[in-house]
């Protein structure tokens, strides 16, 4: 029976909490949230093994049956991989950071300038050059692998960090993406600056660079991760252990420690993953936006 209060408004009968949850549809959200949480646990299960195993002792890690948590917590594995006599991790860190920052800075410069040039400036063969650059993205890297190795060999860049940086100096994708973005900047700004006597380079520095920041930061993140995590091309180019980047050194360590000291591989893996994870955490917000920005226009 619906009650009527003094002002004559019909009151609904009191619903139980469960009933309200079902009627409002909130329970659907709850179930979905629960499913997503379970899936997160499944996704993180391997990482839990990685992290806990890196604190295990040598005998603990091969014990049958294995346990997720270490029997005895120890930093021995980390000491082992940071010992210069056993693994070249610090040198590889330096190499990786040099290559990634070098690549990112080069790509940011060439992409922003390229986006500006192809969108607003006029120069001979501009259109043909742009379609040429676009068409290069159709050829898979695998097809270029063997001959690119020969080219880099003739340029005397083999076994040097330059051999990793120079071939990725320009990014077709970066040029294309920035060009799309520069089209969104009103050309009146360019014309006005031109009338005021600015040179093209001044316009690039004072208008284009600041306004293309969102797209450049997305490019920076993806290029950093791409070159930091790269495996195939560094594998082909670098032989000398002092020149190797982190993924290659990790493979060396797995070959060396893999049989008996797998906790060393785990500790090395944790240390190798730190830089990309830090970059991810810092730019986490930009990440999703960056993917929306770069993925959609692709």
């Amino acid at each position: 029976m619906a009650a009527v209060n003094r002002s004559g408004v019909v009151l609904k009968p009191r619903q139980s909490r469960l009933r309200r949850l079902i009627v409002s549809g909130r329970w659907v959200d709850l179930v979905i949230g629960l499913l997503l949480a379970i899936f997160s646990v499944a996704m993180f299960y391997p990482f839990a093994w990685l992290i806990f195993s890196s604190f295990k002792t040598g005998e603990d890690i091969v014990r049958v049956p294995v346990t997720l948590l270490p029997q005895k917590w120890t930093l021995a594995a980390y000491r082992m991989v940071l010992d210069p006599n056993r693994a070249n991790l610090p040198q590889a860190y330096l190499n990786s950071i040099l290559v990634s920052t070098g690549t990112v800075l080069a790509v940011l410069f060439t992409s922003s300038l390229g986006g500006f040039a192809f969108a607003r400036l006029n120069f001979p063969l501009k259109r043909y050059l742009f379609y040429f650059i676009l068409s290069t993205t159709m050829v898979p890297f695998l097809t270029l692998l063997i001959p690119l190795y020969i080219v880099v060999k003739y340029l005397h860049l083999l076994n040097s960090l330059w051999g990793l940086i120079v071939p990725s100096f320009f990014s077709s994708f970066g040029i294309f993406l920035t060009r799309q973005f520069v089209y969104g900047i009103p050309s009146e700004m360019y014309d006005a600056a031109k009338i005021d006597g600015s040179t093209d380079f001044m316009i690039y520095r004072s208008i284009i660079l600041p306004l293309t920041k969102p797209v450049l930061s997305a490019l920076a993140i993806f290029n950093f991760l791409g070159s930091f995590n790269a495996f195939l091309w560094p594998l082909v180019v670098l032989n000398d252990e002092n020149k190797m980047t982190l993924p290659l050194i990790l493979r060396r360590m797995a070959d060396r420690f893999g049989g008996t000291d797998y906790e060393g591989v785990m500790a090395g893996s944790v240390l190798v993953s730190v830089p990309p994870l830090i970059v991810f955490l810092i730019f986490q917000r930009n990440f999703v936006r960056g993917i929306a920005l770069t993925g959609m226009k692709g």
Binding site: V28, I32, G33, L35, L36, A37, F39, S40, M43, P46, F47, W49, L50, V62, V64, P65, V66, A117, L121, N122, F123, P124, L125, L129, F132, I133, T136, M138, V139, P140, L142, T143, L144, I146, P147, I150, V151, F169, F170, F176, T199, F228, N229, F231, L232, P247, L250, A254, Y262, S269, S273, P276, L277, F280, Q284, F287, V288, I291, G295, M296
Partner: protein, 305 residues
Amino acid sequence: MTGTAKVLPVSGSPRTWWRRRGYSALGTVYGAFVLLFYLVFFLLPFGTAIWLSFHNWDFLTNPKYVGTRNFVKAVSDNYFWQALKVTATFSVFEIAIGVSLALLLALMLNQMKGKWQNLFLSLYYVPVVTPGVVSIYLWRWLYRPTGGAFNTFLASLHLPEQQFLNSPTQALWCIIAFVVWANVGGAAVILLAGMNDVPEHLYEAAKLDGAGFWRQFFKITMPLIRPVLAYQLVVSVIGTVQMFDVFFLMSGPGFSTRTLALYTYQLGFQSLNLGYGAAVSIIIFLLLLIATVVQLQRYQVTWEY
């Protein structure tokens, strides 16, 4: 110079001609560098790849012209067909499982509020940013038949233990499972971005008309995220066919997990059969080109340049 006057009907020095065309010095210098770069690091290697595929070369002796023999060899080479089969199986199943799972995740994430959505999304994205070599060695450790985490888990559920990577029939499926785990977050983010672009009022109108969840999904969400889905499929095909590190570092017994990518690498850098390696890589290029064109036609996606 009379020659110049003939080419340029308008009289005047080259300098004014340059000005009249409105050529920018900065643009011209940039264009020259771009041209030089792509000539050296794209056209030269691409041309060399085509040239090499018609030759035999082992890096040491002089290259020998063999006509189309390398391509004929590929057709009759069992290893080539085996690698093609592995590549196709891997690609088809990784994409089918990975994209369906990503679609499901994106749908569920789409129901979540901003803060939770961001949290889950970031969690799923962690394997994508983790270096491939790290996750490969980690999973190899988990897949170990004796004392591996997965078998320990199976044993705790009283299920029979598996050989995983040591078994020629299971190895490829283990790799597929690993790659799905590593990449599903990336695909989910892109699909979710596509779903966020679907205007809210369409769903409201559909609700007023009494359309249920599935109807909304098939009649609104799916058609409107079609371009994004097509993009994701194209990118996935190109990515899976070229994937190298997992097959190199997590290989199963014999040739059970040798893909075309790994075969090309082995031909070029291990057996030093550069000509044949180049021929195989050209075939990969052609297959990918056909696959991309067919997919784009099927989904009728037009790329705006």
